[in-house]
């Protein structure tokens, strides 16, 4: 039952095992230890929450460690905060033979992620026109609760979206061919089965391809204010003062419905296969079971839907900038697109040798190091760009993966700042109008469909992204490449 106050104290034991790394030692039903990236202050906050609140991200790290077939450790990146079942920032890799697939490790917004594009236009021109550009983007990109996209699709076309991903939107005139090379997985994963997705999920999506959504989803125009790694920045085509547009959204209603539909399927499977559930939301099915396989192919369809969605929105953004500044397509380049609510079959070097693993990342980003075949040729020497969103008022970061990150976290990174205040607390502490006015006075233009949403998403409701990123770099898992500062923010 949900209570405002935690009914009883539940103790999670943690010990520091590195400058920014903490361990929940293996005990009881845990198959592996828990590992959390945090500084002393963040860990104090997490322990305090663990003692006093009903929600408890540390207990969630421990619970994930109790799922069968988990390999290495149940991990949480530095933007850790409580989710349902898995913590946000959680990473769990499972043996494909003995392991399970867990719905809480993916969430309801399948393949929610970020696309960033580099726009070849001087910062001063954007600054001079920021109000008008904000208006044009706000009018062109459908955002907010219940908004509908320009693409009106039939169920047959939705099936194509689920198989083809970003290429579907490209064929409909959104974006350019070159975009696909700079999307994780080339903009479509194999093994997506539209038949594993319910008619209802498809019906909900008919008008939602090409919509941003609401909540923490956004479209942001940013300028690059500092480069930390010149070699990687050069490979990524970044320069100081350069303009970047970032799109943060996911698979919309189709993803939500896949999650909803498979809640009951995996709940039954958990009972059928006798999977011990440390908590009710951590339902799971053996990867090799019919239920597990079907869920994985449905998630893959959801992943492709999110790729198509971001491709469609990127096309709308591209058109606004082309029209406004009379740019050619070549002057707008996709830097990268990567998801952070995902389920991926990946090959990793482990102490037991090279293994295929099913990696869950819930609010965590894939962050592959240099040399991986999955990366575009242009980036292969420096590593994969990792796109980390800040808040409406604070910086975003472009990071890259490291060899240590490959070994310690299966190549993972943070995905954002991480919430520190509940939405309710944020609504008590901030007024939407004041948040927007304060940002405007510091030169950040916000356009939103929901003032309440602006209060919930106030910069003060989040951790300091600078600190979150410093923790990951300090631990050697991710490396900072560049910092971006917001100029225009479009919210749902």
């Amino acid at each position: 039952m949900i209570h405002e106050e935690k009914p009883k104290a539940m103790k999670v034991e943690v010990r520091k095992i590195g400058g920014f790394l903490w361990e929940i030692p293996r005990s009881g039903d845990m198959f592996v230890p828990g590992r959390i990236y945090a500084d002393d202050e963040s860990m104090r906050f997490l322990l305090e929450e663990s003692r006093t609140k009903q929600w408890d991200a540390l207990a969630q790290v421990r619970n994930v460690a109790c799922l069968p077939g988990i390999v290495g450790a149940s991990m949480a990146m530095a933007d850790i905060h409580p989710g349902y079942g898995f913590p946000i920032g959680g990473v769990g890799a499972f043996d494909p033979g003995e392991g399970v697939v867990s719905i809480a490790g993916v969430g309801f917004d399948i393949n929610c992620g970020v696309r960033s594009m580099v726009i070849d236009v001087p910062k001063e021109r954007v600054e001079l026109n920021r109000e008008r550009i904000a208006d044009e983007l706000f009018q062109s990109v459908p955002a907010g609760m219940g908004s509908t996209g320009a693409l009106r699709l039939s169920v047959r076309e939705i099936d194509m979206v689920l198989r083809e991903g970003a290429a579907f939107a490209l064929e409909r005139g959104y974006g350019v061919e070159e975009d696909l090379e700079y999307i994780e997985e080339g903009g479509a994963v194999d093994g997506a089965d539209p038949e594993a997705v319910s008619p209802r999920a498809k019906e909900r999506q008919l008008r939602q391809v090409g919509t941003l959504g609401s909540g923490n989803h956004y479209l942001e125009v940013q300028y690059l204010d500092e480069i930390f790694d010149g070699k990687a920045a050069a490979a990524f085509g970044l320069s100081e003062g350069g303009i970047v547009v970032s799109i943060h959204t996911g698979s919309r209603a189709l993803g939500h419905q896949i999650g909803t539909d498979y809640q009951s399927v995996l709940r039954k499977a958990s009972q059928k296969y006798g999977i011990p559930l440390p908590e009710s939301e951590l339902i799971a099915a053996p990867i090799q079971s019919p239920e597990g396989r079907r869920y994985i192919s449905a998630v893959r369809a959801g992943i492709n839907c999110a790729f198509a969605n971001r491709q469609a929105i990127s096309g709308l953004v591209r058109d606004v900038f082309k029209r406004f500044f009379h740019l050619s397509d070549a002057q707008i380049r996709t830097l990268y697109e990567v998801g952070h609510n995902n389920l991926k079959m990946e090959t990793h070097e482990t102490p037991g040798g090279r293994r295929n693993l099913l990696v869950h990342r819930k609010g965590a980003t894939r962050a592959f190091a240099a040399g991986r075949d999955e990366l575009p040729a242009r980036y292969r020497e420096v590593g994969q760009p990792v796109l980390v969103g800040g808040t409406m008022g604070t910086s975003s970061f472009i990071l890259t993966g490291t060899e240590q990150g490959m070994a310690d976290t299966f190549g993972s990174a943070v995905h954002g700042a991480g919430r520190i205040k509940s939405r309710k607390q944020a609504l008590r502490d901030y007024r939407g109008g004041d948040v927007i006015d304060d940002l405007a006075s510091s030169g950040i233009i916000v356009r939103t469909h929901s003032r309440k949403g602006a209060a919930e998403e106030a910069p003060g409701a989040y951790k300091d992204v600078e600190r979150v990123v410093a923790i990951m770099e300090g631990a050697g898992v991710n490396r900072r490449v560049a910092r971006l500062h917001p100029m225009i923010c479009i919210k749902g």
Partner: protein, 145 residues
């Protein structure tokens, strides 16, 4: 006599919802109101269209999660925002429950300025339907925002 009512509760990045009443049906209705209040400012609204919803299940908690998710997906499909709900039937037929409800909505186009947040799904996290000692039924779960 037990009162009926609903509220939303703090829950880290998401939100908890809770409803209570004299019967499980009232607790279900109130929990739905708690969810509607996250989605839309319903004050002073009247439903323009009615929709009908039927589900079956084996336990009340599972029924609650399914009921709330059915409301979310029906609202999307009908492009509607829901402002009222009445449970016509919630019966235990020898371990199998049946629920029939009438939901009142307004087309989203006609109430866009009142819309607040998108609820992605009702989850099993913290989900329960219980009878308290005083006789009051209390239902609730965490919703993903």
């Amino acid at each position: 006599m037990a009162e009926r009512g609903h509220e939303s509760l703090e829950h880290a990045a998401d939100m908890g919802i809770r409803g209570w009443g004299e019967t499980p049906a009232e607790a279900f209705e109130e929990t739905a109101f708690a969810m509607f209040d996250l989605i839309m400012d319903r004050r002073g609204t009247e439903p323009e269209n009615d929709y009908y919803l039927s589900i079956g299940g084996r336990d009340l908690t599972g029924m609650l999660v399914e009921f709330l998710n059915e409301l979310l997906s029906l609202a999307d499909i009908e492009d509607s925002a829901f402002v009222s709900v009445r449970i016509e039937r919630l019966e235990d037929d020898g371990g199998e429950y049946d629920l029939d409800a009438v939901v009142g909505g307004i087309p989203r186009d006609r109430c866009r300025k009142r819309l607040l947040s998108e609820v992605k799904a009702a989850t099993w996290y913290g989900a329960s339907v219980e009878r308290e000692k005083g006789g009051r039924w209390v239902a609730g779960c965490v919703v993903d925002l």
